[in-house]
């Protein structure tokens, strides 16, 4: 049977979208821990030099983030300099797509066994909360409520818009590439 072209196009678009979202999330994670004390409270518990990755099995996009110190995360792109400490692996591209396009909440994706955890579960729980926090920060509220279990009560409008603006700005500057991760 011949594979119809639009199917492969869909697959490629999906792969591209997930890869791009990983890039955005990686940079946003870095930016968030530079401005948000609440997120740092979680990440500070990780050991310095801790490497976290999200990847899509069997050979999909990868995102690698390092905890440098004091809760700061640094986006390393797709390559890890050392063995990974914690890996969250989506079993299939479609599962990753559903999560990063906010059709399935991260916690539900765990519950539905869409992904595997390789590493210390305590760190996985912590990183899930950090990812939730990220989503509430960078997404418009109507999307964020779809992505996380509960929209945080303590995240007021001012805090959110100010926080989101600063994170977006940093993501943007990082994407353009004329800002060093650490000044």
């Amino acid at each position: 049977m011949e594979i119809r072209p639009f199917q492969t196009l869909t697959l490629r678009a999906r792969r591209f979208y997930v890869g791009a979202m990983f890039q955005v999330m990686g940079r946003a994670l870095q930016a968030m821990t530079e401005v948000d004390g609440e997120a740092c409270r979680e990440t500070r518990q990780l050991p310095p030099g801790f490497l976290f990755e999200m990847r899509v099995l069997p050979s999909g996009p990868v995102m690698v983030v390092e905890h440098t110190k004091d809760g700061r995360l640094r986006f390393l792109g797709t390559d890890a300099p050392r063995p990974i400490n914690l890996s969250i692996q989506f079993k299939h591209m479609v599962h990753a797509f559903r999560v990063v396009s906010f059709q399935e909440k991260t916690a539900i994706a765990f519950a539905n066994e869409r992904m595997l955890v390789d590493g210390d579960i305590a760190y996985a729980v912590r990183m899930t909360r950090v990812l939730n926090r990220l989503e509430t920060f960078i997404l418009p509220r109507f999307l964020a409520v779809r992505a996380v279990k509960q929209y945080p009560r303590s995240l007021g409008f001012v805090e959110k818009t100010a926080g989101a603006a600063r994170i977006y700005l940093r993501v943007l500057r990082n994407l353009i590439g004329n800002e060093r991760p650490y000044e």
Binding site: I108, A111, L116, I121, A124, V125, R126, T128, N132, V148
Partner: protein, 395 residues
């Protein structure tokens, strides 16, 4: 909250009821087992629970080739190594784990070593490391609570490194679980109560958690019904064989339920409390269950209200207006705890245990946040939430 996707898996043959033990030889012969080894603990041996197993095997034509009866309450990698050595020395070809959670976990871990080879258990730690089935393995639970006979998990502490090694694989599931009422007949009242509360918590958390699904729901509700009906009668009459069997079945069913839909906040808090204060797991479950349900109330109103039917029966359910059923279910659980307190002194608050300091509550809340079970709590939990909850459970 119903999930539109789920997985459900339980390939364990359950052999339950009167003279269930006497089915074990036939099951072993079906797998060509000739030299089984029993893994158990001293308490089981002293309680006289080993004898009926040996007798059943002898009469059924299977000779037990080795017995290890020294599993400690918190099993370790060195114990597992010791068992593997004995297994190899005696040319055994199967393991029968006889006991509670620790003996069963130890049996699972020993089966990894003797099947995969080597003496280094750590290399098999984690999820999905085991790639092929292990040697024949049978479980005879002697408490009615943990459900370990139907879970694909084992936890063994590595005493040298001071960490707990988790093992997860469907190959850890036994070929058969033997549920015989003789095995739980002599369980002391406070252990009967605490382990039953553990089973009740497994079923309840399976039914209200984020990963609930129609198949695990069926097992969970049936388990809750049995516990609601039989726990107090068994506390009043410990030799009630029918009630003992029903509680043991409830524990197995609750185990099937939670291993397919996960546990939640009660277990996160309970694991943390157990680790900090060395309280028995079942006691921790009983302490936190009503408070964790109250914390999640607005997210679980519907399923929790439904549980009233299974816990208290159709009359009480029908008499309770729909909007009050969830609260009534929590009240019924509190009433059950009061009854158990009266009968065997099962503590209802952290203070009543006499083993927890108020100053430890912050550390307990902090540790609970790192527990995997907390992911499946319907309401998100922050440190402040967890701390407020353990404070409510204090007195």
């Amino acid at each position: 909250m119903s999930s539109r996707f789920f997985e459900f898996f339980c390939p364990v043959k359950v052999i339950a009821g009167k003279a269930a033990l006497e089915h074990l030889p036939w099951e072993m012969q079906g797998l060509s087992v000739k030299r089984p080894m029993i893994v158990t603990d001293k308490g089981i041996h002293q309680a006289g629970l080993l004898e009926p197993v040996l007798a059943a095997c002898r009469e059924g034509g299977v000779q037990i080739a080795a017995i290890f009866d020294d599993v400690p309450p918190d099993s370790s990698t060195s114990v597992v190594r010791e068992i593997a050595t004995l297994y190899r020395d005696k040319h055994c070809d199967a393991i029968i784990a006889l006991g509670g959670g620790s003996a069963i976990d130890t049996g699972k871990a020993a089966n990894i070593l003797v099947s995969m080879g080597g003496d280094d258990l750590e290399q098999y730690s984690g999820a999905g490391i085991l790639k092929h089935p292990l040697r024949p393995f049978f479980v005879i639970p002697t408490t009615a609570g943990t459900g370990s006979e139907v879970t694909s998990v084992a936890v063994i502490s590595d005493e040298q490194r001071g960490v707990k090694l988790p093992f997860t694989s469907s190959f850890l599931l036994p070929d058969a679980a033997i549920i015989d009422p003789r095995m739980t007949l002599t369980l002391p009242p406070h252990i009967t109560a605490a382990t039953a509360m553990d089973a009740l918590t497994h079923a309840t958390e399976a039914f209200i958690g984020l990963a609930k699904n129609p198949l695990s729901d069926a097992y969970a509700t049936a388990a809750i019904q049995k516990i609601g009906q039989w726990l107090l009668p068994v506390m009043n009459d410990p030799k009630n064989e029918e009630g003992r069997l029903e509680l043991a079945l409830a524990s197995t069913m609750a185990g099937i339920a939670f291993s397919n839909s996960m546990v939640g906040l009660v277990h996160a808090l309970g694991h943390a409390t157990g680790a900090k204060c060395h309280l028995p797991h079942g006691v921790c479950m009983s302490l936190y269950l009503p408070y964790a349900l109250e914390y999640n109330l607005e997210y679980i109103r519907e399923p929790l209200g439904e549980l009233l039917l299974h816990l208290e029966g159709p009359e009480r359910y029908a008499q309770t207006p729909t909007e009050q059923r969830a609260e009534s279910c929590i009240a019924a659980i509190r009433a059950l705890r009061d009854q158990l307190h009266q009968r065997c002194g099962l503590p209802r608050t952290l203070e009543e245990t006499g083993q927890v300091e108020f100053s430890q509550l912050e550390a307990i809340a902090q540790l609970a946040l790192d527990d995997g079970a907390i992911l499946f709590s319907p309401q998100e939990v922050s440190f402040e939430d967890a701390h407020a909850l353990v404070c409510r459970a204090w007195s």
